[in-house]
């Protein structure tokens, strides 16, 4: 259809066109208050260093789709606790790249100006975060796997260390390269100490034996006991006095002094009494002799020394036995320890390799995050809020629809018109060319 034929159809059906336009405009005027006013908040984001990014799969042309994706919008809806469905949110969010730049406008239209601003800003922020997630997602997976592997290796290392500690605890010499020499040296030292201890024990035992209490009291002890016994001392004193009297009477008198035999008998009686008192005093269990008591104390101490010597000898014998056991056990524990040590060395090598790879992955992620990122360039603020023209937009849409309806009606009526008005229709009917046309319908 040419422009001329298009105009001709409109001219032929101008009545229909104007009628539909009039009715449509009248309806628009009637329903002008049905559409509520709304506000639009607009934030701007910029995609930085897009070309240098390690992950070029996401470019500026993809940002509108990401911004209006259900992932981003659902997060925004939850974070702001928006009282609207995801579909409604999606319908009112707009995202478009400005020309050929790397800047994209993110807008939201709502009856509330504040919510329009908040949502547009939230979408911009969430877009920035989500873009970072997308950019570093592959690296995150890598890092997570490497971290998990590192954790497993660390656990194995800890287990190995525990096993080696137990082996070391059972045989400390396994950690040394000259473990046999060390044990032998220690064993020799212990043997020397054990010999000395045994000699000391014998000496102290001899001393103790020499201090053992005797059944017969010593002269000193007997003297101390008797001197401390008053009855004995009294008998002794009386005997001494009577003896002195007898000596004096014997010197004074002759053998025929009649008193002498009496005195002799008295002295004999007193001597017997002294002996009896002496026997009694010495057999008295409460009799006390300081020197005997001191000797007893020394004996007790010596017994303690002997006991100490015996304990030390026993301890040394135990140590010697332990060392001897270690020496005997050294071949088995040494090989076990060496095996564990080899395993630990291998694990440490593996751990170091994984740690290096994880460090590289972290560096790559950081690089990807820094090279390709979406930055919120311009946040929606109060001043940016504008009357989004809910009515205006609806009016424009309605006007376009009315115009389309008017034009469509014209062409519909024209197509349904059975009358033949165009040369091509006549040519089709007759199969003969039209050689001349007269009038506007041509």
């Amino acid at each position: 259809m040419t422009v001329q034929s298009f105009v001709n159809v409109l001219k032929r059906r101008q009545l229909i066109v104007f009628s539909v336009l009039a009715v449509g405009l009248a309806l628009m005027w009637s329903f002008r208050n049905v559409v509520p006013s709304s506000f639009a908040g607009v934030a701007h984001v910029v995609l930085l260093a897009e070309n240098g990014a390690r992950d070029p799969s996401v470019s500026i042309v993809d940002l509108p789709s990401i911004a209006t994706s259900t992932v981003v919008l659902e997060r925004v809806r939850k974070s702001l606790k928006l009282p609207m469905s995801l579909i409604t949110l999606k319908a009112n969010v707009s995202a478009s790249v400005l020309g050929r730049s790397s800047i994209m406008a993110v807008g939201f239209r709502d009856a509330s100006a504040e919510r329009a601003i908040n949502v547009s800003n939230a979408v911009a922020d969430e877009l920035s975060r989500y873009y970072d997630e997308i950019s570093t997602q592959s690296y995150d997976v890598n890092v997570d796997r490497l971290s998990s592997a590192l954790g497993g290796e660390a656990a194995k290392l800890r287990d190995l260390n525990a096993q080696m500690s137990r082996v070391e605890a059972s045989n400390p010499f396994v950690v040394s390269q000259k473990s046999t020499d060390n044990i032998t040296t220690d064993l020799a030292t212990l043997d020397d100490q054990l010999g000395a201890a045994r000699a000391q024990l014998q000496a102290d035992q001899d001393i103790a034996d020499s201090m053992a209490p005797n059944a017969n009291l010593s002269q000193t002890a007997r003297h101390e006991i008797l001197a401390d016994d008053p009855a004995y001392v009294a008998e002794r004193t009386a005997a001494a006095r009577d003896g002195t009297q007898f000596v004096l009477d014997k010197a004074t008198y002759t053998k025929s002094f009649p008193g002498l035999p009496g005195e002799v008998a008295k002295i004999k009686g007193e001597t017997a009494a002294i002996n009896a008192e002496s026997a009694r005093a010495l057999s008295d269990q409460h009799a006390y002799s300081p020197s005997a008591a001191a000797t007893e104390q020394q004996h007790i101490r010596q017994i303690a020394v002997v006991a100490g010597d015996a304990a030390r000898v026993q301890q040394l014998e135990g140590l010697v036995g332990t060392e001897q056991g270690r020496l005997n056990d050294l071949p088995r524990t040494g090989s076990q320890y060496a095996e564990l040590d080899a395993q630990r060395t291998a694990l440490e090598t593996e751990y170091d390799a994984l740690a290096t790879r994880r460090a590289n992955a972290l560096a790559n992620r950081a690089e990807a995050s820094s090279l390709g990122s979406v930055v919120v360039l311009d946040r929606a603020i109060k001043a940016d809020t504008q009357l989004a023209g809910g009515r205006t937009r609806a009016a424009v849409v309605a006007l376009v629809l009315v115009l389309a309806l008017a034009l469509g009606s014209a062409f519909l009526v024209d197509s349904l018109d059975p009358r033949i008005s165009r040369p091509e229709d006549i040519e089709q009917l007759y199969g003969i060319p039209v050689v001349a046309t007269f009038g506007a319908r041509s």
Binding site: P418, I420, E427, V434, V435, A440
Partner: protein, 235 residues
């Protein structure tokens, strides 16, 4: 102003049509202008074409018939050709001249009794005196004159009223043209507004028409009258 523009436009269209005819049909030739229905504008087209041919110093004659009015509308708003026919009716079939164009009118009473051979001889007669004989055949399905002529003319033009619906007469025209193997020049499409404009234009020019049929001593007139009398004889 609008009428002037339309006149110029129609004049230009007729000139183009004339040039096409002159290129395709060599003189002397008989052209039949016919249509499927009465109101398809065969008369105005034949007249306009003849007039245009006559303006190029071609000797041109328009042969028309004085058909009776077929409708009340024709009576109340007659076309210029009808008016012309009415003027010629007084001649009882004769020759008139409008500017450089000769007009031969055959009354409808004669058409009713005419024969194919007589019509052919009349056309032959006119061919000897004129370069182009343009015949207003009216609507082909109902016009006996056009049916008699269609097989013997050199070329046929079919007019079509723009904006009318398709009719069974269209099929009749197509079948007739195909059956008679007439040479089709093509279709002339004309709308009602042009027909009406043509009528207004020619009403004014009608007054300048000078009847010459009865002029004594005109040998052409005399020959035609003989021919007309001959074709008017009953079968």
């Amino acid at each position: 102003m609008k009428g002037r523009i339309q006149t110029d436009s129609m004049t230009r269209e007729f000139r183009l049509l004339r040039n096409r005819i002159e290129a395709e049909i060599h003189a002397p030739a008989v052209l039949l202008v016919t249509s499927a229905t009465v109101r398809d504008g065969a008369g105005p087209t034949a007249y306009g074409l003849a007039e245009s041919l006559s303006k190029t110093h071609q000797r041109t004659v328009l042969v028309t018939t004085s058909s009776p009015p077929t409708s009340k509308q024709q009576l109340l708003a007659p076309s210029p050709v009808t008016l012309r026919r009415r003027a010629s009716d007084s001649l009882e079939g004769g020759l008139a001249k409008a500017g450089g164009l000769s007009v031969v009118t055959i009354s409808h009473e004669r058409i009713a009794t005419i024969s194919r051979s007589n019509v052919a001889s009349l056309m032959q007669e006119l061919r000897t005196d004129y370069d182009y004989v343009v015949v207003d055949g009216g609507d082909l399905p109902s016009s006996g004159f056009a049916l008699l002529l269609v097989a013997s003319v050199d070329a046929v033009l079919v007019t079509f009223l723009a904006g009318r619906q398709q009719t069974p007469q269209d099929r009749i025209v197509l079948d007739t043209l195909e059956r008679t193997e007439a040479k089709m020049l093509g279709i002339v499409m004309i709308d009602q507004e042009s027909i009406d404009h043509f009528a207004q234009r020619d009403v004014s020019s009608e007054s300048r028409e000078i009847p010459i049929a009865k002029k004594a001593g005109n040998p052409l007139v005399q020959r035609l009258e003989v021919a007309l009398q001959r074709i008017g004889k009953p079968f």
